[in-house]
């Protein structure tokens, strides 16, 4: 089936305005009759919940953490982009749009990305009005810096804690609506199913993580803002509870899953130290503004960094990509690091490259570097025990971000009417690779400025209160969730949930990681179902379901990953080209650059669930580019 993204026609710059003019409105007096269920309180969910409540709708908000303020968005360090052109260095909405499309290797939707660039400016205004303390210069104006994949300074930041400040801004707007009685918060509550009534999303089934109670909530629309899925690789930079569960369960109820093989590997993480490792820590990409990346030129050079003379170092990014150098996009920088390590040039454990500040410290002084990145240097020291002012940091790529997600149209509505998907949980804006500082932008654009309009259009055509949690569909859903919980508890095998997660992560990293081949993918497609089967026969989940049970929570998430990982590999196998974060070794140039096949793969792959272990059905949404010329992405 050919999918329609429902992008409005007309000139690029007018699409969103024209579309908004055509969207239906809900009469102010009627808004309070509608209830919207928002799953997730990260940037996307909290901003959407706050805005919808301000408009007058009743909102029920859900998150698995103890407080909405702790959503994973809080961890974003580097910054958020906007096309303000305050530094007068040539930025514009069109340039931000252009960089984002090109950065995504021409696998994102033109209309969505242009709208994102337009809205980026409103986001900064909104956040400043909320009291987000962005960095300022001595004249009192906002300060900007540049970020990976861009040659202009368009990134706004708040020390190394931009995500925290943006999320707290949204959480505060959200809290104001809680006080006003327009938002009801359900913290420590996990969504475990989507309820579909007559083909439309009308509710969710949740588990209260403290009491174990399984409950249904009915609403007039459901907003999923549940974040990304890269914990399928086990080790990643994501929070421990980040999972695919909400999106996967919606997929099993009919929502299409788009481009799952697009995962981003971030080049600047602290390397792994051992099997005990539970997560990887990102060092903000802003470090690449002043740090220089290198490895020794000679294999097996064991000397400490300071003793390796300049002419025996390979500053490989500067050498291969002279115009972007250390600021090359993430997929390029990550792959280059892996290539260096695979060639035996890695430092530390062999899985690491240097990120060196010696030159920057000489040029700017240690104080300036400390002012810019002090908290990152402190964090690095806490984790590694090394002082990066005196010796270069060691970094290695790690899984970081999901560009794929549930399929949505231009209205951010999935193929199931009434199900809206925002932020990292949807697929639409980043293509095959995400540039730095653009996820925060997308989450807030979706939540503050897009969904509130488009959801109204759906509600205006819907009678309020159509579904009730007493309906059959809800009862069936609760029974199904209850059944799954009991099944997990009944296995009583010998291996822990973590054992399975580690094994799955290993398969994913080795066979579906930074470089994939038909062979490795076929291999993964054999190993994952086998591991899944073993899981259901041999996992041990202690305790019971009527209690706070963290192993049970994890078990449900890993069970979903064992299904989702297969879809990810299948999508990667289907996409027989290289693009962005998806690198098929069969398709590269002589010097190792990705080769896209636009004539065959310029489409969004949206998968329809066909049953566990069964072949899902592929739907394609063709991508057309009217305002930008498809070009080989070059950062040379």
């Amino acid at each position: 089936m050919i999918l329609d993204g429902k992008c409005p026609s007309g000139p690029l710059a007018d699409k969103w305005d024209n579309h908004r003019r055509d969207l239906k409105l809900v009469n102010p007096a009627n808004k309070r009759k509608y209830t919207i269920l928002v799953v997730g309180t990260g940037l996307a969910g909290a901003s959407a919940a706050a805005t919808l409540a301000e408009l007058g709708y009743n909102v029920e908000a859900f998150c698995y953490q103890d407080s909405p303020r702790r959503a994973h968005s809080i961890a974003a360090q580097g910054g958020i982009n906007a096309a303000k052109n305050y530094p007068n260095d040539g930025d514009s909405i069109f340039r931000l749009f252009h960089d984002t499309i090109k950065g995504g290797d021409f696998r994102a939707r033109e209309a969505n990305v242009y709208r994102l660039a337009q809205i980026s400016n409103n986001i900064i205004d909104q956040c400043v009005a909320q009291g987000v303390p962005f960095a300022r210069d001595y004249a009192g104006y906002l300060e900007n810096r540049s970020f990976g994949g861009a040659q202009v300074s368009r990134t706004f930041f708040a020390r190394g804690q931009t995500g925290q400040q943006l999320l707290l801004g949204a959480y505060q707007a959200f809290s104001r609506q809680v006080q006003a009685g327009k938002i009801r918060v359900h913290a420590r509550t996990e969504m475990l199913d989507l309820v579909v009534v007559d083909g439309e999303a009308k509710g969710i089934t949740v588990r209260d993580l403290v009491t174990g109670e399984i409950r249904c909530h009915a609403g007039d629309a459901v907003v999923l803002a549940s974040g990304g899925y890269v914990n399928v690789y086990n080790l990643s930079t994501n929070a421990m509870g980040s999972s695919v569960t909400a999106a996967w369960r919606a997929h099993k109820k009919g929502a299409y899953f788009a481009n799952p093989c697009y995962t981003q590997i971030h080049p600047t993480c602290i390397p792994v130290t051992g099997d005990h490792q539970s997560k990887l820590t990102l060092m903000s990409e802003s470090l690449r503004n002043d740090g220089r990346i290198w490895v020794p030129k000679n294999k097996g050079d064991q000397r400490p960094a300071q003793q390796i003379p300049e002419d025996e170092r390979d500053y490989y990014l500067e050498r291969k990509y002279p115009s972007f150098g250390n600021l090359a996009p993430r997929d390029i920088a990550s792959r280059a690091a892996k290539q260096a390590c695979d060639a035996g040039l890695g430092v530390g454990s062999g899985r690491g490259v240097y990120l060196d500040f010696t030159d920057a410290i000489e040029r700017l002084g240690e104080d300036t570097i400390r002012a810019r990145y002090g908290n990152l240097f402190d964090m690095y020291q806490r984790i590694t025990g090394e002082n990066a002012y005196q010796q270069p940091m060691r970094i290695y790529p790690a899984l970081h971000y999901a560009m794929g997600g549930l399929w949505v149209d231009y209205n951010l509505q999935s193929n199931l009417p009434g199900l809206f998907v925002l932020g990292e949980a949807n697929f639409s804006d980043h293509g095959a690779n995400r540039l730095g500082a653009s996820a925060l932008m997308q989450g807030l654009a979706d939540g503050y400025f897009i969904a509130p309009y488009t959801i109204a259009d759906y509600l205006a055509r819907t009678e309020p209160g159509k579904a009730s949690s007493k309906d059959d569909e809800f009862r069936d859903s609760a029974a199904q969730v209850e059944g799954l919980t009991n099944k997990l508890l009944a296995v009583n095998g010998r291996k822990t949930v973590n054992d399975f997660h580690r094994e799955l992560g290993h398969i994913m990293w080795e066979d579906v990681g930074m470089a994939r081949s038909e062979e490795s993918l076929r291999n993964a497609l054999e190993k994952i179902p086998a591991l899944r089967e073993e899981f259901w026969n041999n996992v041990r989940v202690p305790g019971n379901g009527a209690d706070l049970n963290q192993e049970l929570e994890k078990a449900g998430r890993v069970a979903d990953y064992l299904e989702f990982g297969e879809l990810l590999a299948r999508d990667a196998l289907n996409r027989d080209e290289s693009c962005g974060g998806h690198f098929r070794v069969e398709h590269q140039t002589e010097d190792g650059e990705a080769v896209r096949k636009d004539d065959q793969y310029s489409y969004v792959a949206a998968w329809e669930y066909g049953g566990t272990g069964k072949t899902p059905q592929l739907h394609k949404e063709p991508l057309t580019f009217e305002n930008i010329e498809l070009a080989v992405r070059s950062y040379k």
């Binding site: 103890d66 020390r159 964090m379 806490r382 822990t496 963290q550």
Partner: protein
């Protein structure tokens, strides 16, 4: 290294709770404190015993979820470090470690090391925000803010809402937490018009929720993983005293 752990186990809020002893074997100095507990839990599960439950999520020191009192200190011995960022190289072979939940009247124990901190959300709900709706605001550079003020606001805004300050305070006061939000907004022009109402509502809610008052022990500052300074408590007090006369007879000020 090998360690002996004494861990607080409590089935639920009504249970009395007790310390139980566990051995942590072959602990690597590169592990974080929580990874050490993960390994202990893996062993417990394999032995058919219930793992220790504790709160955590980002494991990067920023979400404020992790919350353990280690050897009597909230977030453990390392200054300005959350439990998830505490690494085992801070300990040595043979150490005995006592691990307990946050203790405060306003934070009932949920289970083992997990406490309920929603009282802190209610303080923010009472007024810890600028009352601005989405859309229709001025260009960001229309509001100029002196760099020093923006920096001070940011110093306060770094609070991660973990509640260690409460756990460390002999009065169970949330003053450092409240002052961080009041201080941040007090330094900015955006929130000024509602400043008086904010500080009064937040302070009142703090007391309503069962937190104590400040009597200058400064234990909060010592425990705070983000180094939030007690100078913000003085700022909070100044804001409060400025607000009182304004609020007399005019609840809407």
């Amino acid at each position: 290294m090998n360690l002996t752990l004494h861990v607080w186990r409590q089935q639920g809020p009504e249970d009395k709770g007790r310390l139980e002893r566990y051995q942590a074997k072959d602990v690597s100095p590169d592990m974080s404190f929580l990874e050490m507990l993960d390994e202990v839990n893996e062993e417990l599960i394999k032995e058919g015993r219930e793992p220790i439950v504790f709160d955590h999520d980002c494991r990067e020191g920023i979400c404020g979820t992790c919350s353990q009192v280690i050897n009597g200190q909230p977030h453990g011995p390392q200054a300005e470090t959350t439990v998830c960022q505490l690494h085992m190289r801070e300990f040595k072979d043979g150490d005995e470690i006592y691990i307990e939940p946050w203790r405060a009247r306003a934070f009932p124990v949920v289970k083992d090391l997990i406490v309920d901190r929603t009282a802190m959300d209610r303080i923010i709900e009472a007024g810890g925000y600028v009352s601005v709706n989405t859309g229709g605001v001025a260009d960001a550079n229309a509001i100029l803010i002196p760099k020093a003020d923006a920096d001070t606001a940011m110093d306060a805004a770094e609070c991660i809402g973990c509640g260690a300050c409460v756990a460390a305070c002999p009065n169970g006061s949330a003053m450092l937490f409240v002052s961080a939000k009041v201080g941040q907004l007090a330094k900015l022009p955006q929130g000024r018009p509602e400043a008086a109402r904010r500080v009064c509502a937040m302070t009142e809610t703090m007391l309503d929720q069962g937190f104590g008052n400040c009597s200058n022990h400064y234990e909060c500052e010592a425990a705070c993983p983000k180094g939030i300074s007690v100078k913000f408590i003085s700022m909070l007090n100044r804001e409060y005293f400025k607000a009182l006369p304004k609020l007399k007879g005019n609840k809407d000020a």
